[in-house]
């Protein structure tokens, strides 16, 4: 070992270097945030809780087919409706359940949805949907996907019932005009 190396090792230069780094961080700005009072801001494309709007859904089952673990259960039936004299068959949605407890939030259902803007989406910035009881609370049916009973929406975000749009989670609160920003 060179003379300087010996001298350095006697005066513990390497250990002091390490101490200086932790010492510097001792006065450093802290990184933790106090969660319940300060909430982290999710990004726009953050894949959070489901949003669903029944009128935009055309019951094409694309989302159910695209789901890798098949947790979207859809049941529908046909109805005759009169449109300007012509008899037309219209598909009506009976049951649209998502088994959220098994969902991995991969977003493939949102990509498969052909409607514009999409009928099922995850960009809702809300992630606080923990539940105590496994099956009952995390099995969302059609109504609950819209009024988010049991989900704590992120501050500034409204439920789909109150007009939330995929790319405008605040439901028009931000842009007063409320037109769909594509």
């Amino acid at each position: 070992m060179s003379f300087w190396g010996f001298l350095a090792s006697v005066f513990q230069v390497d250990l002091l270097q390490g101490l200086s780094v932790t010492g510097k961080f001792f006065l450093h700005r802290k990184a933790t945030i106090q969660y319940p009072d300060v909430k982290p801001v999710p990004a726009d494309r953050f894949r959070g809780m489901f949003g669903f709007s029944e009128e935009r859904c055309i019951v094409c089952h694309n989302c159910a087919k695209a789901c890798p673990i098949e947790i979207i259960h859809i049941a529908d039936h046909f109805e005759e409706i009169e449109v300007e004299g012509k008899k037309k068959k219209k598909k009506v949605l009976d049951r649209y359940d998502i088994d959220v407890k098994r969902c991995m939030f991969c977003g493939l259902c949102e990509e498969a949805c052909p409607t514009e803007p999409v009928a099922i989406w995850l960009t809702t910035k809300s992630y606080e949907s923990a539940a105590y009881e496994r099956n009952e609370r995390l099995y969302f049916d059609k109504k609950r996907l819209q009024n988010w009973d049991g989900v704590e929406p992120y501050p500034g975000v409204v439920t789909p019932e109150k007009g939330q749009m995929p790319n405008d989670p605040s439901g028009g609160a931000a842009g007063k005009a409320g037109e769909q920003k594509s």
Binding site: D14, Q17, G18, S20, F46, R47, A66, F105, C106, E111
Partner: protein, 374 residues
């Protein structure tokens, strides 16, 4: 040279069989190592795995090609982007699809950020296992920024599901490249800081030099890839040998170690982090514009046949062997897991060392049980 035959001062003394794991603070997941000890010296170590086996390859056979991508995120859960890159690369090679340059550059960006994030986890936990608590927090602080970049791009932080067969599902949000550049430019300074804590710290050197030595010949014999192989002095990196995704248009060096001990693998991975920073900077500079998705049918149906495609994951060579029968679901999809094969060399590297070295060697192999058990 293989590790020396274990010299036992009291050969007829009774061995103690200890089970490390599967629930153990330093096994990086649910790994169990049955260790035969003579005092503190390890006579033999037998890794037992399978606690996290989810039958991923069986599930692959029931999914459409785009449906398998979320499952690959869960294999090496610290490197979801490179897992996706491997899968989509294999299917594209089988279908003969060329990906638009912008998509390829975005993939390189995501993969190199993932390599940085994976090496950061390795450094944090490896130092924690050997006793230094603080690097864990300094390193994870930087990793948070990478996860935020991922969240902005594809909506998730760990299980990204951010690539599709034929290109990228969506383009970079505006301002993303600026934030990415700001992060990557300041990272080398952070890495230098971590190094001041460890690199020439005498206790760190004592715990890592000449620990878990494996020679180049043995490393090849045991099929090691990635940093463990490069640590023993073999200059081998899939990105240089079989360049994919425009890696040939980006300059970077491959760091190699000298005598294949834990300290060399540490230096190799830290140098790899710096090279990844260089790659990301070059990718950001040369990012072409244009479409991000090739003309690929909505339902992916590759032709009948078999293909093997591998990428250089943070842990080593991650390969996908796909056998397709022409349908929408893969007939057989096998993953060549880098950690599974690297872990196989553990008994070889640990025989004759002390218990504390077992933890250091498990850390230096950088194993993730999701990829081992699949």
């Amino acid at each position: 040279m293989t590790s020396p035959e274990v010299v036992r001062p009291f050969p007829d003394s009774e061995e103690m069989e200890v089970s490390f794991g599967p629930q153990h603070p330093a096994t990086h997941g649910v790994l169990r190592v049955m260790v035969k000890l003579d005092g503190e010296r390890i006579i033999d170590a037998k890794p037992i795995i399978g606690y996290l086996h989810r039958g991923t390859e069986k599930i692959f056979e029931t999914e459409t090609y785009n449906g398998t991508i979320p499952h690959t995120d869960r294999m090496d859960y610290t490197a979801a982007a490179t897992n996706n890159q491997g899968l989509v690369g294999a299917v594209e090679k089988l279908m003969g699809v060329t990906v638009p340059p912008r998509a390829a550059y975005i993939r390189m960006l995501l993969a190199e950020l993932q390599r940085l994030s994976s090496h950061i986890i390795w450094l944090g936990t490896h130092a924690l296992d050997i006793g230094a608590q603080s690097p864990f927090f300094y390193t994870f602080q930087e990793r948070e920024i990478i996860l935020d970049l991922y969240e902005e791009y594809c909506g998730a932080r760990l299980t990204l599901n951010c690539m599709r067969v034929g290109g990228q599902p969506f383009d970079l949000p505006e301002g993303w490249t600026g934030r990415c550049k700001a992060f990557v430019d300041q990272l080398p300074a952070r890495i230098a800081e971590w190094e001041r804590l460890l690199t020439n710290n005498r206790i760190w050197k004592k715990r890592t030099v000449d620990v878990g030595v494996i020679s180049a010949k043995d490393a090849i014999e045991w099929g090691l890839t990635g940093p463990p192989l490069r640590g023993s002095g073999v200059k081998w990196d899939i990105r240089k040998v079989f360049p994919y995704d425009h890696y040939n248009e980006v300059e970077f060096e491959i760091p190699i170690g000298a005598n294949g001990d834990t300290y060399d693998r540490y230096l190799v991975r830290v140098e790899e982090m710096r090279q990844s920073v260089r790659i990301v900077q070059q990718c950001l500079a040369k990012l072409p514009d244009g479409p991000v998705m090739a003309k690929v049918p909505k339902v992916i149906k590759p032709p009948k046949g078999e293909i093997y495609f591998s990428v250089e994951g943070p842990k080593g060579e991650l390969g996908y062997y796909i056998v397709s029968d022409g349908g929408t679901k893969p007939y057989r999809m096998h993953v060549r897991p880098a950690c599974f094969i690297n872990l196989q060399a553990l008994p070889e590297m640990v025989r004759g060392l002390l218990v504390a070295d077992l933890i250091a060697v498990i850390g230096t192999l950088d194993i993730v049980l999701g990829e081992i058990d699949r």
